[in-house]
């Protein structure tokens, strides 16, 4: 396996927010990661390159095998050989990760392989993300760009080094549909032509379901369902996934209330016993509270962490208490 995350656990201030995540990404595969705001998606992404913010956060256990090598035990020098060149990262917040004191051109130059035709490659990279206008504006700094332009500059930086693994954390939140399409097409082309593997973290379910080969759904720090996009969309086995799919608004909708999953996100410091989705689940029954369900297999590549998945998949809906 190209990338394999095993039993990953991460704590911030001694509170565990990633509570045992397993995930695999094959060579040339795109895996989507979705889930509620604050459920731990970014933390999983950051763990791969060991960028969990220093003093308060730490990976408490697990292995991250990149071509069989455990990234979590590499020395900082060894790790540097992977970061940036073999594994690139598009961060959720462009401004916090672009360097404010260097121009976009300087920052692109920094990540380019040294022997390239530097100017040519920079122009190429800018063009590919729709920032042609910046080719001649060499003195432009990150804060002088619009939100969507910053996002695209960061994507350009992430792909010029021709990485093997690309981690995209909400890469298109600031992009309108036309630009978004162009960028995602570009990434998918790299995947097809160069065998790029992708971890695609996003709340844009439509796009994730369309592009990803497989999708992991996270809730409260763990994967609660995993499988091919089509299966999750049409026959989700976990009530949380069902709620998410039902919340996708249609464009027709006018001045009505939006569907939301009822109830609140649980705090990591006060997670319930048993199934973590219990307080909000429409299908809950008494045994759900006894112990946290394991990730059971329901068909080829389709897993769900719910004791009623089988019924739910079979009947589409069932009664709870």
């Amino acid at each position: 396996m190209f990338l394999r995350i095993e039993g990953l656990r991460v704590k911030y201030n001694d509170i565990e927010v990633v509570r045992g995540v397993d995930l695999e990404i094959g060579k040339g595969e795109c895996i989507g990661l979705v889930g509620e705001s604050g459920c731990g998606k970014t933390t999983v992404g950051l763990s791969i390159t060991r960028l969990i913010p220093g003093h308060k956060g730490r990976i408490s256990s697990g292995r991250i095998l990149f071509e069989g090598k455990n990234l979590l035990v590499l020395s900082p020098e060894e790790l540097r050989k992977y970061r940036g060149s073999r594994i690139s990262y598009v961060f959720q917040e462009p401004l916090s990760s672009l360097n404010p004191v260097f121009t976009i051109h300087e920052q692109l130059k920094e990540v380019l392989p040294k022997d390239d035709d530097v100017e040519g490659s920079i122009s190429e990279a800018l063009k590919s993300v729709g920032l042609k206008e910046l080719i001649d504006r060499k003195k432009v700094y990150p804060h002088e760009l619009s939100g969507g332009m910053q996002q695209r500059a960061m994507i350009a930086m992430a792909i010029v080094s021709k990485p093997d693994l690309l981690i995209l954390d909400e890469p298109t939140t600031a992009l309108d549909v036309t630009v978004q399409k162009k960028i995602l097409e570009l990434v998918m082309e790299l995947k097809k032509n160069l065998g790029l593997s992708i971890l695609f973290i996003s709340h844009d379910l439509r796009t994730v379901f369309e592009l990803a080969d497989g999708v992991g759904v996270m809730y409260a720090g763990r994967i609660v369902e995993q499988g091919p996009a089509k299966t999750l969309m049409s026959r989700p086995g976990h009530p949380y996934t069902r709620g998410l799919v039902n919340s996708i608004p249609s464009i027709e909708h006018r001045k009505e209330r939006f569907n939301a999953i009822e109830g609140r996100t649980p705090l990591f410091s006060e997670l319930p016993e048993g199934c973590k989705f219990y307080p909000r689940c429409k299908f809950r029954i008494k045994p759900c509270r006894e112990k946290e369900p394991f990730l059971g297999k329901f068909s080829d590549g389709h897993y769900s962490r719910c004791i009623r998945s089988k019924e739910l998949i079979a009947h589409g809906t069932i009664k709870g208490i």
Binding site: Y12, G35, E36, S37, G38, T42, P53, K56, Q92, E93, P94, L95, S96, G130, E133, R137, K139, E144, L145, S146, G147, G148, M149, R152, D169, E170, T173, A174, L175, D176, V177, T178, V179, Q180, K181, H203, L205, R206, T207, E210, G243, L244, S247, I248, P249, S250, I251, E252, H253, R254, K255, E256, R257, F258, N259, A260, R264, T265, L267, S269
Partner: protein, 251 residues
């Protein structure tokens, strides 16, 4: 009634030859949810910042309740900042990295209302609760929040002064669908209960179509199409609007 009227507004950034806002006219009625869409870099955030005088413009006027904001004295502007709030596109910009979330919200109640400590804390907690963040967030620094949590703190902060007009710049872009729904429902409820007015900037046409009354489509610093939401979306006139709508129907 016209709440905001922008006339002949022009903004050119230094070092940059083309205008980010090019002789723009726009008016927004009280109680309206006004959508603003357009391609990345066309000047939407610049317009938002100009209204609050967070950036200087070269020419034009921005009338708010009849007063030109561009000519308002600092003192007057202070009062207006209580009535007009902005939810920034990048929450990173609105939150001081050294200030805990609770204190940042309390500060608003201190500056604008001079509430005593316990009342400030209560109000701040209520706001956090409204955006789905519990009391445990009170003592956290912005860096200790996820992207979507930060965005919601930005929303809570904008609501804190009890504004009449809120400029929302991509307010729900980092929220998952279900939380996004909760926040949009909250914004619509407030609009109904308090007749708030919104300038709603978003690249998500689905969201714009469902909550906005009117929508303007911007391209290179100009408004190229404007009208009632259902009309613009049903029967787009401008080529850019058509292109936008086409690319959603394909996905």
């Amino acid at each position: 009634m016209e709440l905001l009227k922008v006339s002949n507004l022009t903004k050119i950034y230094p070092k940059h030859k083309v205008a980010a806002i090019d002789n723009m006219d726009l008016s927004i009625d009280k109680g309206e949810i006004f959508g603003l869409v357009g391609e990345s870099g066309c000047g939407k955030s610049t317009l938002a910042k100009s209204i609050l005088r967070l950036t200087d413009v070269q020419r034009g006027s921005i009338l708010y309740k009849g007063d030109d904001l561009l000519k308002a004295a600092a003192r007057k502007m202070q009062g207006i900042r209580k009535e007009i709030q902005i939810i920034f596109q990048d929450p990173y910009l609105s939150l001081d990295p050294r200030v805990k979330i609770g204190s940042a919200l309390e500060e608003v109640f201190l500056i604008h209302y001079n509430y005593p400590g316990p009342k400030r804390r209560k109000k701040a907690a209520e706001l956090l609760d409204m955006v789905g963040l519990g009391k445990s967030y009170f003592n956290r620094l912005p860096s200790e929040l996820s992207g979507g949590e930060k965005q919601r703190v930005g929303i809570a902060r904008a609501l804190a002064t009890g504004p009449e007009f809120i400029i929302c710049d991509e307010p729900v872009s980092s929220l998952d669908i279900s939380i996004q729904a909760q926040i949009l429902n909250l914004l619509m409820d407030l609009q109904e209960q308090k007749a708030l007015t919104y300038l709603f900037i978003s690249h998500d046409l689905g969201v714009v179509a469902s909550i906005c009354d009117r929508v303007a489509v911007m391209q290179s610093g100009r408004i190229v199409e404007i009208g009632l939401c259902e009309e613009v979306f049903r029967n787009p006139q401008h080529s850019y609007t058509k292109k936008l709508l086409d690319s959603i129907s394909l996905t």
